[in-house]
C-alpha cells in the first residue's frame, strides 16, 4: 500500500514531530524524578509546572487546577467516582447522557452497582442534549452533571455553556468530557461554569498514556490513585515527565494552530459532506449539521454494513472507522447512533471520517470517488438492497 489517507483522528492522532522532539531529552538526559531534592531533578519539577501553566492558559484556568493523569479514561473515572464518593452525603444522583463515551457510561453503571442513581438523558436526532430534559431530571439529591463537550462519533458539540448555567443555578457540580473537543474548539471553563474537565494527549497530536483532569478550586474531590504525594497529593505515581512535556507541547501547538487548522478542516469537512450527500443515495449525515467538530464527518449508508466498507477502504489505504475504535470487535452497533434514533441495521452501516490538517482536497476527492464505488458494490451484494429495490420497482 503506497498511499495512506488517515481519516481516523478521533481514534488517535500522530504525535507531532515537535512534540516528540520536546519529549526526547526527558528520557535519557533529564530523567530525574521530579520529587527528588537534587538540582539534577529540579529542572523536571520546573518543566512540569510550565506545562501545567500552558494547559491552564488554554482553558482560562489556574495552573494548580490541572492534574495530570494517564489519559481520558482515567480522568473520566476519577471525576465520576471520586466526586460520587466525596459528595455521597449530599446525594446519590448523577445525570449524564446516552451518548457519552464508555469511560463515562461504564463508570456510571459501576456507580449504579454501588448505590448511586444515574439518569441517562436522551438526545435529539442531531445528538444534542435537551436542556428541558436536563432541568426536569434534576433532583434534590443530584450531585453531578456529566455531559461531554463534543461527541467522539458524530462530532456534535453540546450547549455546554447553557448546561453549565443550569448546573450552577442548582448548585450541582458540572463535569465535561472534553477529550474530543479540547484542542479543536476554544474552551473557557469559567464562561461555561465547568467544574471538572477531562482531556487526553493522544487526541491532539500529543503522546498516548497522558491526559489531565481540570478540577476547579473548591471542588472537594478525593484521590482516585492513592499513594505518593504527587499532583498535590491527589494523584499518586511518579510523574510521567516526557508524557507531560509532550502533552504541554501538544496543547501549546493545538492552541497556536487552532484557528488556521480548523478553518481548513471545516472547509474540507463540508466539502466531503456535500459530495457524499449529493453523490451517494440513501445516506444520512449523523450529528449536528453545523454544531459539530471541525474535523468530523459521520454518515450512515442504508443497506451497507460498516466493516465491509472499512476493509475495502483500508485496501485503498484509507483509514476510517465505524462506531468508535474502543468498541470495535464488539458486534453491537454504536450506542450513540442508536441514541440519535437510527435503527440497528442503519447504525451498522455508519462511517466516521475524522480529518487532520494534513488532509488535502485531493485526498477527499480520492476518498469520495472510491467510497461511491464501494457503497455501490456492497449494495449490489446486499439482500436488503435487493428487497428494497424490488419494493421500489412495484
Amino acid at each position: 500500500m503506497s498511499r495512506l489517507i488517515y481519516l481516523d483522528n478521533a481514534a488517535t492522532t500522530k504525535t507531532a514531530p515537535e512534540v516528540v522532539d520536546a519529549m526526547l531529552p526527558y528520557f535519557t538526559e533529564h530523567f530525574g524524578n521530579p520529587s527528588s531534592i537534587y538540582s539534577f531533578a529540579a529542572a523536571n519539577k520546573e518543566v512540569i509546572a510550565k506545562q501545567r501553566e500552558t494547559i491552564a492558559d488554554a482553558l482560562g484556568a489556574k495552573a494548580n487546577e490541572i492534574y495530570f493523569t494517564a489519559g481520558g479514561s482515567e480522568s473520566d473515572n476519577w471525576a465520576l467516582k471520586a466526586t460520587a464518593e466525596a459528595y455521597a452525603a449530599k446525594g446519590n444522583h448523577i445525570i449524564t447522557s446516552k451518548i457519552e463515551h464508555h469511560a463515562i457510561l461504564h463508570t456510571c453503571q459501576y456507580l449504579e452497582t454501588r448505590g448511586f442513581e444515574v439518569t441517562y438523558l436522551d438526545v435529539d436526532e442531531d445528538g444534542v442534549v435537551k436542556l428541558e430534559d436536563l432541568k426536569a431530571a434534576i433532583r434534590p439529591t443530584t450531585i453531578l452533571i456529566s455531559i461531554m463537550y463534543a461527541n467522539n462519533e458524530i462530532g456534535t458539540i453540546q450547549p455546554i455553556r447553557e448546561i453549565g448555567e443550569i448546573a450552577k443555578e442548582h448548585g450541582i457540580l458540572f463535569h465535561t468530557d472534553a477529550v474530543q473537543a479540547f484542542g479543536q474548539v476554544p474552551i473557557d471553563v469559567d464562561a461555561c461554569h465547568i467544574d471538572m474537565l477531562s482531556a487526553s494527549g493522544h487526541k491532539l497530536n500529543g503522546p498516548k498514556g497522558i491526559g489531565f483532569l481540570y478540577i476547579r478550586t473548591g471542588v472537594k474531590i478525593r484521590s482516585f490513585v492513592h499513594g505518593g504525594a504527587q499532583e498535590r497529593k491527589r494523584r499518586a505515581g511518579t510523574e510521567n515527565v516526557p508524557g507531560i512535556v509532550g502533552l504541554g507541547t501538544a496543547v501549546d501547538r493545538a492552541v497556536r494552530t487552532m484557528k488556521e487548522r480548523t478553518v481548513k478542516e471545516r472547509e474540507l469537512r463540508d466539502y466531503l459532506i456535500k459530495r457524499i450527500s449529493e453523490e451517494i443515495p440513501y445516506c444520512r449525515l449523523n450529528g449536528h449539521p453545523t454544531d459539530r467538530l471541525p474535523n468530523n464527518v459521520n454518515f450512515s449508508f442504508r443497506f451497507v454494513e460498516g466493516e465491509s466498507m472499512l476493509i475495502r477502504l483500508d485496501l485503498l489505504g484509507i483509514c476510517a472507522s465505524s462506531g468508535s475504535a474502543c468498541t470495535s470487535g464488539s458486534l453491537d452497533p454504536s450506542h450513540v447512533l442508536l441514541a440519535i434514533g437510527l435503527p440497528h441495521e442503519i447504525a451498522h452501516g455508519s462511517l466516521r471520517m475524522t480529518l487532520n490538517e494534513e488532509i488535502t482536497k485531493e485526498d477527499i476527492d480520492y476518498v469520495t470517488d472510491n467510497l461511491k464505488e464501494i457503497v455501490a458494490l456492497i449494495r449490489s451484494m446486499s439482500p436488503l438492497y435487493e428487497d428494497f429495490m424490488k419494493k421500489q420497482a412495484k
Partner: protein, 147 residues
C-alpha cells in the same frame, strides 16, 4: 485480523447474485446484529446443486463465509450439502477470529434455510434438516443490547 483466504473471498466473492426462479431460497440473520445472508439454490432433478448464489449484508467474515459456503455446496447433492457445516466453512477459510465464528454458523443456517425452502416446495423431507428460524428484515425494531 483475517486470513488470506478470508480476504480473498471478501475481495473477490464467488457466486454473488440472484437466481431467478430458484429451487430454494433461504434468508437468515438479523439486521439488528448486522448480518443477513440469502442463499439461492438451483437444484436439478437428481437433487444435485447445479448452481448457488448469495447476497449478504454483513461484515468481511459474513461475505467470505457466504462466498465459501456457496463454493462448497455447488455441485454437491443435497445430502452432501447438509454436511457443509460451519466448521467445514471455517476450515476452508483457514479459520476466523473468535468474534466472527457466528458468521460461519449463519452461512450453515442460510444453506439449510434454502434447502428447507426447496424441500417444502417439492414436498420432500431432508434428513437432519429443521425449520429455519424466522428471517428478520430491515426496519425491524428491537431493544438495545446491554454493553
Amino acid at each position: 485480523m483475517y486470513t488470506e483466504k478470508v480476504m480473498d473471498h471478501f475481495q473477490h466473492p464467488r457466486n454473488v447474485g440472484e437466481i431467478e426462479n430458484a429451487s430454494g431460497v433461504g434468508t437468515v440473520g438479523n439486521a439488528k446484529c448486522g448480518d443477513i445472508m440469502r442463499i439461492y439454490l438451483d437444484i436439478d432433478e437428481n437433487q444435485i446443486i447445479r448452481d448457488c448464489k448469495f447476497k449478504t449484508f454483513g461484515c468481511g467474515a459474513a461475505i467470505a463465509t457466504s462466498s465459501m459456503a456457496t463454493e462448497l455446496v455447488k455441485g454437491k447433492n443435497i445430502r452432501e450439502a447438509m454436511e457443509v457445516t460451519n466448521k467445514a466453512v471455517m476450515e476452508a477459510l483457514d479459520g476466523l477470529p473468535p468474534v466472527k465464528v457466528h458468521c460461519s454458523l449463519l452461512a450453515e443456517e442460510a444453506i439449510h434455510a434454502a434447502l428447507w425452502d426447496y424441500a417444502e416446495k417439492h414436498d420432500i423431507k431432508i434428513e437432519g434438516l429443521v425449520r429455519p428460524k424466522n428471517d428478520i428484515h430491515e426496519g425491524e425494531e428491537g431493544e438495545e443490547e446491554d454493553y
